[in-house]
Amino acid sequence: MNEAKPYAFPFAAGARFDPATVSGFMNGRGHGGFLGLHYLAHGGDWIEMGLPWREDLVGVPESGVLASGPIITLLDNATSMSVWVRSGVFRPQVTLDLRLDYVRAATPKRTVVARAECYRITRSAAFVRGLAHDGDPADPVAHAAGVFMAMEPGA
């Protein structure tokens, strides 16, 4: 098991945002690092990120189904990064709220993939949605909707 270490964030507010680099950093340590989150792909306003199945992240020992906590973190990180993917710049923000619908249990031993999208950014808020699946995006395990607040409202 990788024991993640505390870290300092090396990206300045307003810096150009490169998803693969920032994801490698964000998910290389801290809680994302502990869970083994990793960057998969991105487009103009979306990003994909993976969460490998691991025995110590299980919520139901009898079935081997992952706990929902790691899926919250996966969708929190992915939706959070989708905001910077859309804007192209890094703007520090915090999660205001996040809602998850657990459509079905994730299949044991499969990597869970999140696809997250930012559909609107305002001066102070960013609106996001996403889904998580374990192989087939048409058969999701979870749906998410959330709002992030900019720590310092900008233009």
Binding site: A4, S68, I72, T73, L96
Partner: protein
Amino acid sequence: MSVAALPPYALSLGMTVERLENGVPLIALEFDGKVEGRPGFLHGGAIGGLLEMAAIAALRAELLARNTQPQIKPVNVTVEYLRGGTRQRTFALGKVTRAGRRIANLSAEAWQDDPAKPIATAWMNVLLA
């Protein structure tokens, strides 16, 4: 299953049952690198996981008291983040708003040094089968 049993995910994150409050497990989470989000702060996902654990623990306690042990399947959760969680222990306590035959409506609150200043709250609906 005992009222104080936690699943592997909770144990690997460092959650423990601090004590029972009126029969409801009070869950504690240690701060360390494993649960850190932005530098110096607890990750929102870890807070969400802690709140869910507290809500389910409260439900399990209630079901045990009723002498039933149905399977608990989460339907959805909404987490509201109120304050940043800093480098210290976090506590969470769940509440059963209503537990019917098929559905239970739960909530949970998390705080650090002052229970009157929650860092996050959650609402959760689960299916009982």
